[in-house]
């Protein structure tokens, strides 16, 4: 449920007034932060929400005194922590304050921890710098905070290296490290974005629990409206370095008054599956039968190890339909996608594409089949060759199949119009486009060959929510026009609910549940599916309709 706490009597911990941050030495360019103001009270969680480039992270770095030197600097404004202006502090004073008075946790716990140092020793290091306890007292204190963050088998983890822990455990270590000196303010910069949903739920609950126990003020930075609905007391919506709207969570979600907030909320896909589409009577274009991939490793003499990346996957897909493959990291969903694309060779089962088994075809025999199967990848920054013009990337496929260049270019121009990009984009290079534009180019490239099946591997996961909505609309429009069949791989149940006709839920290489989207997501039969749905942040709220969802 939405948080509904009255904290107006609690003392203010952080007060930011008219903070302006600019590019160092560049007074003509518009500032990165254009005079933002907000405050956080004791025990309160304030969420900064916004899309890429909105200035959320810059705000947190400015507060920590960690703006990149020579790149960004504070021009004017105040950052008061317990009444003291942090901007007036020397570098030495700020160093004292970090960890003691304000602490920060980051998105990627693996890179924030020292890989060659045991995690226990890394937490002890914080105490070394800021306290003069004895060694045994330090150890006791570290063990205590590690228990507070609910790490299992604390004695063993104390002596573990970061790579020996899971992502969730590493984030717990980071939280333990941040909170051991009981700082007044905790800044969390997208702390759960790199985690699976079930782990994310636990970490969010942990932050709330520790906040209640220690009365910490939390500045939480996220792009995910679901997370906001779970944990925020108040929300600040940011865009282009300005706070557009701020208010209690209920007010912002129920009655957003700024147009941008309304658009942002409207773009959040609903968890309620869309109405099932009428099944056209068409024979399936793609059938997977008992598909599996096992990785075998080990030397000639050593012990052989087998890793079953995916096992016994069965489905069939008809033209014009969308199949969602849903699962957390390591579930084998990408292995299935790569097997179908024949980027890897499956070790078991059959893939029938238009009646032909392509599971074990050679490179040469595969070539005529490839034009029926195309793929869109997750990372738009790496899926286009940075050295090639868009024209060259788009025409690569057709030229491989002997289409004359003039015809290929004409088709490329037509598709660029469909994906709403100007014709002169053809002459430009990928670095001149934003992430969303590049993803649209990647989609155009995939449909240049008029494929029968399009595999979208987390194709919208790296995009901002409003851009995500545009790309999903584009895929739906293409499907309506061309009757293409889509396999949509995602970890995001909201996205799956909105575009899939059928859903296949995977866990550790096995399919645990499979069926029409409405049925699987509305009435899940398997415990794991239920856990996944239960863990989806903000599942109790319908963002577009601005009302709670009835359970």
């Amino acid at each position: 449920m939405l948080r509904n706490r009255d904290l107006t009597d609690a003392p203010e911990v952080l007060r930011i007034r008219d903070l302006v941050v600019e590019l160092t030495g560049n007074t003509t360019a518009p500032p990165v932060l254009k005079g933002i103001s907000f405050d956080i009270r004791r025990g309160e969680t304030v969420c900064l929400v916004g899309e890429s480039g909105s200035g959320k992270s810059v705000t947190s770095l400015a507060t920590m005194g960690l703006l990149p030197k020579g790149a960004l600097s504070v021009r004017s404004g105040q950052i008061l922590l317990d009444g003291q202006d942090l901007l007036a502090c020397s570098a030495r004073q700020m160093k004292q304050k970090r960890a003691k008075n304000l602490a920060m946790i980051f998105q990627e716990p693996m890179t924030a921890l020292n890989p060659v140092m045991k995690v226990g020793a890394q937490i002890v290091e914080v105490l070394d710098l800021h306290t003069d306890l004895s060694a045994s007292e330090k150890r006791a204190k570290v063990i205590d905070i590690m228990e507070q963050v609910h790490l299992p088998d604390v004695a063993r983890i104390f002596d573990s290296y970061p790579h020996q822990l899971s992502g969730g455990q590493r984030q717990r270590i980071m939280i333990a490290m941040a909170l051991i000196l009981e700082p007044a303010l905790l800044i969390a910069d997208e702390p759960t974005t790199a985690l699976d949903v079930t782990t994310q739920k636990q970490i969010l609950a942990l932050i709330a629990e520790l906040q209640a126990r220690h009365g910490t003020a939390v500045l939480f930075i996220t792009h995910d409206m679901g997370v906001v609905a779970e944990i925020a007391d108040r929300v600040c919506v940011m865009r282009h370095g300005e706070i557009l709207e701020t208010g209690p969570i209920r007010q912002v979600l129920e009655a957003p008054h700024h147009g941008y907030t309304q658009a942002l909320l409207g773009a959040v896909p609903s968890l309620v599956p869309r109405a099932a589409r009428v099944l056209a009577e068409k024979p399936p274009i793609l059938i997977a039968k008992a598909l599996g991939k096992t990785y075998r490793s080990g030397s000639v003499f050593g012990k052989k190890t087998e890793i079953r990346a995916s096992h016994d996957v069965n489905f069939d897909l008809s033209p014009g339909r969308t199949l969602g493959i849903v699962g957390e990291s390591g579930s084998g969903k990408t292995t299935v996608a790569r097997s179908i694309m024949r980027l890897i060779e499956p070790t078991a089962g059959q893939i029938l594409l238009d009646g032909d088994d392509i599971a074990h075809l050679s490179t040469a025999a595969m070539k005529p089949q490839r034009r029926k199967l195309q793929v869109v990848f997750q990372d738009p920054f790496r899926s286009l060759n940075p050295r090639w013009t868009i024209a060259r990337s788009l025409t690569e496929g057709p030229l491989n199949y002997g289409v004359p260049y003039d015809k290929a270019i004409a088709e490329a121009k037509r598709l660029l119009r469909i994906v709403s990009l100007p014709e002169d984009a053809l002459k430009r290079y990928p670095h001149q486009f934003s992430g969303g534009q590049r993803q649209r180019i990647a989609i155009a490239r995939a449909v240049m060959l008029e494929p029968e099946v399009l595999v979208a591997d987390e194709a919208v996961s790296a995009l901002d929510v409003s851009v995500q909505a545009q790309v999903l609309d584009l895929l739906a429009e293409l499907q309506r026009q061309t009757g293409i069949a889509i396999i949509f791989i995602t970890h995001d149940l909201r996205v799956a609910a909105q575009i899939c006709d059928e859903v296949l839920v995977m866990k550790r290489g096995e399919v645990v549940e499979q069926g029409p989207a409405a049925q699987v997501l509305h009435d899940p039969q398997h415990d794991y599916t239920r856990a996944l749905i239960h863990a989806a942040p903000g599942r109790f709220w319908d963002f577009a309709a601005r009302t709670p969802l009835s359970a």
């Binding site: 890429s52 480039g53 909105s54 200035g55 959320k56 992270s57 810059v58 998105q107 997208e190 792009h223 694309m341 980027l343 490179t363 070539k367 490839r370 034009r371 199967l373 195309q374 793929v375 990848f377 997750q378 990372d379 920054f381 790496r382 899926s383 286009l384 060759n385 940075p386 050295r387 990337s393 690569e396 496929g397 491989n400 199949y401 290079y429 990928p430 670095h431 992430g435 990647a442 490239r445 995939a446 060959l449």
Partner: protein, 293 residues
């Protein structure tokens, strides 16, 4: 997230252009380029610049100090040192460039294959390890001893030990680049393996290759000088910086200029090439520049 990951790469040509702006690179590479051009100019136009026939001996004029007639003096056979030195630079530079081009050409081809095909990788890299385990000077001496001293065998002798280093570099670049989604997309688009190798993967290796190439030129010039100095290089009739210095060894106390001047030219040449290589590396890989502060 406020900061986008910096995966955006401009094309090579655009990045190389930044080399031409002194504000980006500092002044050192410009001085280096000027010096190198001067040395190249001297050697290329040596037949017109030379004051004497570099091969003509004059027993009466042995080991003369610098004078108006003999700008840098004469050597033990009475040959004009200045004329010999600028002609010798021709051979040295020719060998340096030829060795670099052959080493890069072979190395890039082998490296592409090793990086892309897993089975070939194991075999090729073990062969390269074996080559790297042999001291390069020994290989060179053995090759020259087998084939006799000629420009061709000196180039081969310098090239072969350089190839494994290029192969390793290319292979490591290909290993990371082949996992890029745009390469997988090319596979999915039905591109043939040679097309993927030469059009998608090869350009990735260009930036490190340009840098590596300058280092090979520099080290090849040095190795040639060393081989000639040891007597395992080109026959002493054709002057190169190395064998001019080798001959000057015995007259060092009478006319140190015989070793000093070719040595100085060699130093300027190698230093300039290395400085230009460093500047190219900085322009092509901005991360390096940042790390150095």
């Amino acid at each position: 997230m406020a900061m986008e990951p910096n995966l955006t790469q401009k094309p090579l040509s655009l990045r190389l252009l930044s080399l031409v702006s002194p504000t980006q690179t500092g002044i050192a590479p410009f001085i280096a380029a000027f010096m190198l051009l001067a040395v190249i100019g001297l050697t290329v136009f040596s037949p017109w610049i030379a004051t004497h026939d570099p091969l003509a001996m004059d027993p009466l004029m042995r080991l003369k100090p610098p004078s108006d007639e003999y700008l840098l003096g004469t050597d033990g056979f009475g040959r004009d040192l200045f004329s010999r030195m600028i002609l010798g630079g021709r051979i040295s530079l020719l060998i340096g460039c030829a060795a670099a081009v052959t080493a890069l050409g072979l190395g890039v081809l082998i490296g592409l294959v090793a990086g892309y095909f897993r089975i070939a990788d194991a075999i090729i890299m073990r062969m390269m390890d074996a080559l790297m385990a042999m001291p390069s000077i020994l290989i060179a001496i053995a090759l020259v001893a087998l084939n006799g001293p000629s420009i061709g065998s000196v180039i081969a002798a310098i090239t072969i030990p350089e190839v494994p280093r290029v192969v390793r570099l290319v292979r490591s670049v290909v290993l990371t680049a082949r996992e890029e989604p745009y390469v997988e997309a090319a596979v999915a688009l039905g591109s043939s393996t040679p097309k993927i190798l030469f059009q998608h993967l090869l350009p990735n290796t260009m930036a490190p290759m340009i840098v590596q190439g300058t280092y090979i030129v520099a080290s090849a010039i040095l190795t040639e000088a060393l081989l000639s100095f040891l007597g395992a290089g080109i026959s002493t009739e054709i002057p190169t910086w190395g064998n001019i210095m080798a001959e000057g060894r015995q007259y060092f106390r009478i006319n140190p200029g015989i070793i000093l001047w070719p040595g100085l030219l060699l130093t300027i040449c190698v230093l300039s090439i290395n400085l230009i290589g460093d500047a190219a590396r900085d322009a092509l890989d901005p991360r390096m520049k940042k790390r150095e502060g």
